[in-house]
Symmetry: C2
DNA sequence: TATTGTTATACTCTATAACTATA
DNA sequence: TATAGTTATAGAGTATAACAATA
C-alpha cells in the first residue's frame, strides 16, 4: 500500500477530530495526495513535480537564474543544480551565462523543452482539476488567491 | 542555505509567472515553508510534524487504530509503525489491542503524552498564525474550509 | 482468502558544509 | 568580503514487497 491508494479517500472517521482544522496538516495531506497525482500525470513525459516546475519556469519567458529558481521553488540552490543537470542532459533546457553578472546562469527551455512543457502543463492541469473536483470555479479561484496571498504578502 | 531561509520571503520577480497559479506548486511551497516552521516550533518538545500528528490523534479521544492513522495522515502503515514505536519508546503513547478485532492496535496517549501534546499544540498554533499572518480571521477560516472540502468531499 | 501490523530495502527529498569563480 | 553555482554527504520522507497473526 502507498499514499496513492488514498487519493480517492472520502470522509474517514477521524476527519471529525479537531486535528482536521490544523492548516499544516491539511496542507501536508493535500500536498501529499496532490504530489502523487501530479507525479503520475507527469510520468508520461518522464518528469516529476520538481523537474516539471523547473522546466515550467525555464519556459516562462522570465529567464530565471538558478538562484531565482531556488528561491521561488523553496529549494536549496544545490538541488537546482541536479534538476537542471538532468533537464539539460535530456536537451530540454540550456544554461546561459548571465547578461550582467558572469557568475549567474540563466536557465532557458529549448524547442524540445517547450514541446515537453506543453504536454506536461496539460497533464498537470487535468490532474489539478481532478484533485479539486469538489470545488466550483469560484471557490477554486478563491483558494488560489488565498494561497498566493499567504505566500507573497 | 536551506528552505527555512525563504520563510520570510516576499514578492520575488518570478511570482508574476503564470506558474504562480499552479495550485500544486502553491501547495508544495506553502507546505514546504510551513513544514520548516512547524518543525522548528516542535523542536522544543522533540517532535517533528509527523510524530506530532500521530500524537495529536492518539490524544484526540477517538482511539484510532494504526490503520486509521495511516489512512488519515496519508502515510503507509509501515511508516506508522516506526512513528508509534518512537512515541511508545518515549512513553508518550501506548498500543492497546483492538476491542473487537485482535489484529488491530489502538494508539492512545499517556498522561505524559497529553502533557507534551498540549505544549506541541500551542507551538503549532503559534506557528500557523505566523504563517498565515497575511490573512484575516475570516479569510483563514475560508482557507481552512476550502482545504477540508477539497480533501473530504 | 483478505486484512492488520510488521520487517526490510531501495529510492527521493531535504539539510548542511565546503569549495570555485566571479563580484 | 560577499554571492552564484557546484560538489559531497547524511538524514528524513516515500514506495514496494513479503511475512505472521487474525479475520
Amino acid at each position: 500500500m502507498t499514499i496513492g491508494d488514498a487519493v480517492g479517500t472520502t470522509q474517514p472517521r477521524l476527519a471529525q477530530a479537531s486535528i482536521a482544522d490544523d492548516i499544516g496538516l491539511l496542507l501536508a495531506k493535500l500536498h501529499a495526495v496532490g504530489s502523487v497525482r501530479n507525479n503520475r500525470a507527469l510520468a508520461d513525459v518522464q518528469l516529476r513535480e520538481r523537474s516539471y516546475s523547473v522546466l515550467r519556469l525555464a519556459c516562462s519567458g522570465l529567464e530565471p537564474t538558478q538562484r531565482e529558481l531556488a528561491e521561488f521553488l523553496s529549494l536549496d540552490p544545490s538541488q537546482i543544480v541536479a534538476l537542471v543537470d538532468e533537464l539539460e542532459r535530456r536537451g530540454l533546457v540550456v544554461r546561459e551565462q548571465g547578461r550582467t553578472d558572469r557568475r549567474q546562469k540563466i536557465v532557458l527551455g529549448t524547442p524540445e523543452g517547450e514541446r515537453i512543457h506543453a504536454q506536461a502543463l496539460a497533464a498537470v492541469r487535468a490532474s489539478e482539476r481532478d484533485q479539486l473536483a469538489a470545488l466550483d470555479d469560484e471557490e477554486e479561484a478563491t483558494l488560489r488567491a488565498l494561497l498566493r496571498r499567504a505566500l507573497w504578502h
